[in-house]
Amino acid sequence: MEQKIGALMLNSMDNVAVALENLKAGESISIQGKEGLVKVFKSIPYGHKIAVHPILKDEKVIKYGECMGIATETIPVGHHVHVSNVRGLNKEDKTAVTLKGGVEK
C-alpha cells in the first residue's frame, strides 16, 4: 500500500518540512521531496514544521532553501520546529558572511 504523504519539503536544501495534516506522535510519515520515512516524535499540527534533518544548536533552520531562523537548541529529526526552539535573525546574523550549517547562497 502506498504510504500517505504527511509533510512537504519546499526546497531540497531544507532541513524542515511542513505538515500537510495533523501528525500524530509515533506515526511514520513519508515526505514529499525526501526519500524514506520520518517518525513523528510529538504531535504536530498541520501547517507547522517537522525537522527532517538533525539541526544543531545555533545552526540555521532552512525553509524555501533560505535561512528562516536559528535553532536555539539541538532539534532531532521528527521533532516539532517552532518558537520554543527557533529564534528570528538579528542584524549580526544577516551581515555575517557565514552562519554555521545550512547552505550559503
Partner: protein, 385 residues
C-alpha cells in the same frame, strides 16, 4: 504552445484585451465617469477619488498611475475626464497622443453644459468602440508578457501552496524571456537581505533595501512597527515561527530568479525578467500599480477569497486550499490546495498556472472578469490638503 494572440499598440506594447475605458483625473467627476460609460455598452468606467489637493509626491504618483492605466496595452481607446482649470486630462492626452494612442479628454467647466459634455463623450466612445472591434490581433511570444504577482486574504497555506507555485511559474516565464513583477514592500520586511542578495548588481540591491527602509520609516511615523508585530499571534498558531519565515512565504511568489530591477509605484520596467515594484500591502492599490506599470495579467493568490480584480487586466485567482475552492468555485481559477490533498507538486501547479496564463492571454475570461470585479485605487503617500 508559448504564444498568444495580442493587440499591437502604436507604442510597441502588446495587449491581451482590447478595452475602451473612461477614467477620471479628479474625484469630483467620478459619478459623471460612470454615467458616460453607461451610455455605451461594453465601455469600462475606471473611477477613483484621487487627483485634487495632493502633495507633490502624490501628484506625481497619481499622474503615473493615470498615464499607465489610460495608456495600458490592454486599452484600445481611453476617454479622460477632468474638471475646471485642472489640465491633468489634457496633459495625459498630450503624452499618449505623442505615442500614437487613441485618446480624448473632456473637461467639465462652465463653458459647456453637462449634457453637452456627456453627448461629446458618448459620441467619442461609440466611435472608439467601433474602432476597437476592427483592430486585428497578431501572434506574440510570451517574452512580451509582463505578469504582476500579488496576494490578498492570505492564510496559513499561502506560503506553502499558492505562493511557491506562483514562484515556480515566475521562474519558468523568466527563463522563457518574459517578465514578472513582485510587489508589496511591507511583506518583504525581514527578508530584504535575501532579495537584495539576488539582485543583478549592487545598485539594484541597494534600491531594494532603500524602499524597504522608506516603507518602515513611514510605518514608524504612523506608530506601527512591522518587525515587532510579525509574525502575529495568529500566524504563530498557524505554524509561522519567525518574521523571516512569514516574509519568505510572500516573496517566494517571485521564485528564485535574479532581481533585475526595482521600480517605483506604477512605473514601467525597463528590464525584462524578475522585477520588484514598490507598492503597499493593500491589494487594490497594489494591483492598480502593477497594472499601471504594464502588467497585462495579474496572478493573485488568496486563502480567504479576496475578490479584488482590475478594470483592464485579467486577474487569475489562485486558491491556497481546496475548501476555499469548494466554497467559492465561481471565484477561484486555480486550486493550489491540490498540493495538500492530491499530493501534486509545487511544479505541477506552476505548470498549470503557466497554461492558464497562456489561455487567458488568448482570451479565456477569468473569474474576476466574469464577475466584473473592477477595483481601482491609487496609492497615496501623504495627507490630502
Amino acid at each position: 504552445m508559448k504564444f498568444f494572440k495580442g493587440y499591437r499598440r502604436s507604442d510597441g506594447s502588446i495587449g491581451v484585451r482590447n478595452h475602451v475605458i473612461v477614467i477620471n483625473t479628479v474625484g469630483e467627476v467620478a459619478s459623471l465617469t460612470k454615467k458616460v460609460a453607461q451610455m455605451v455598452p461594453g465601455v469600462i468606467p475606471i473611477v477613483h477619488q484621487a487627483g485634487q489637493s495632493q502633495s507633490l509626491e502624490d501628484i506625481e504618483q497619481t499622474m503615473n498611475a493615470l498615464l499607465g492605466t489610460a495608456g495600458h496595452a490592454n486599452v484600445s481607446g481611453a476617454l479622460i475626464l477632468g474638471m475646471g482649470q485642472d489640465d491633468t486630462a489634457e496633459e495625459i492626452v498630450k503624452v499618449l497622443k505623442n505615442k500614437g494612442r487613441h485618446v480624448h479628454s473632456i473637461n467639465f467647466n462652465k463653458t459647456q453644459s453637462i449634457s453637452e459634455a456627456l453627448r461629446e463623450g458618448k459620441l467619442w466612445l461609440e466611435n472608439a468602440k467601433e474602432r476597437s472591434e476592427n483592430e486585428p490581433t497578431e501572434m506574440a511570444d510570451v517574452s512580451e508578457l509582463i505578469i504582476g504577482l500579488e496576494c490578498g486574504g492570505s492564510d496559513a497555506w499561502s506560503g506553502i501552496t499558492a505562493n511557491p507555485a506562483i514562484g515556480a511559474f515566475s521562474d519558468s516565464i523568466v527563463k522563457d524571456g518574459g517578465t514578472s513583477i513582485l510587489a508589496e514592500t511591507t511583506e518583504a520586511v525581514g527578508t530584504e537581505h535575501i532579495l537584495a542578495r539576488r539582485a543583478v548588481n549592487e545598485a539594484v540591491g541597494q534600491k531594494f533595501l532603500d524602499i524597504v527602509k522608506r516603507y518602515e520609516e513611514r510605518a514608524w511615523a504612523a506608530g506601527e512597527n512591522i518587525r515587532s508585530a510579525n509574525p502575529s499571534p495568529g500566524n504563530k498558531v498557524g505554524g509561522l515561527t519567525t518574521l523571516e519565515e512569514k516574509s519568505l512565504g510572500c516573496i517566494k511568489k517571485g521564485g528564485n530568479s535574479t532581481l533585475m530591477e526595482v521600480i517605483d509605484y506604477a512605473q514601467r520596467p525597463t528590464e525584462k525578467g524578475f522585477i520588484f515594484m514598490d507598492t503597499p500591502g493593500y491589494d487594490v492599490e497594489s494591483v492598480a500599480g502593477l497594472v499601471a506599470g504594464g502588467s497585462q495579467i495579474v496572478l493573485f493568490s488568496t486563502g480567504k477569497g479576496s475578490p479584488t480584480g482590475s478594470p483592464i487586466a485579467p486577474v487569475i485567482k489562485i486558491g491556497t486550499n481546496s475548501k476555499l475552492y469548494q466554497n467559492m468555485p465561481e471565484h477561484i481559477d486555480i486550486n493550489a490546495g491540490k498540493i495538500i490533498d492530491s499530493y501534486l507538486s509545487i511544479e505541477d501547479i506552476g505548470k498549470e498556472i503557466y497554461e492558464k496564463v497562456i489561455s487567458v492571454a488568448n482570451g479565456e475570461v477569468t473569474s474576476s472578469e466574469k464577475h466584473k470585479n473592477q477595483e481601482f485605487s491609487i496609492w497615496r503617500l501623504a495627507e490630502t490638503m
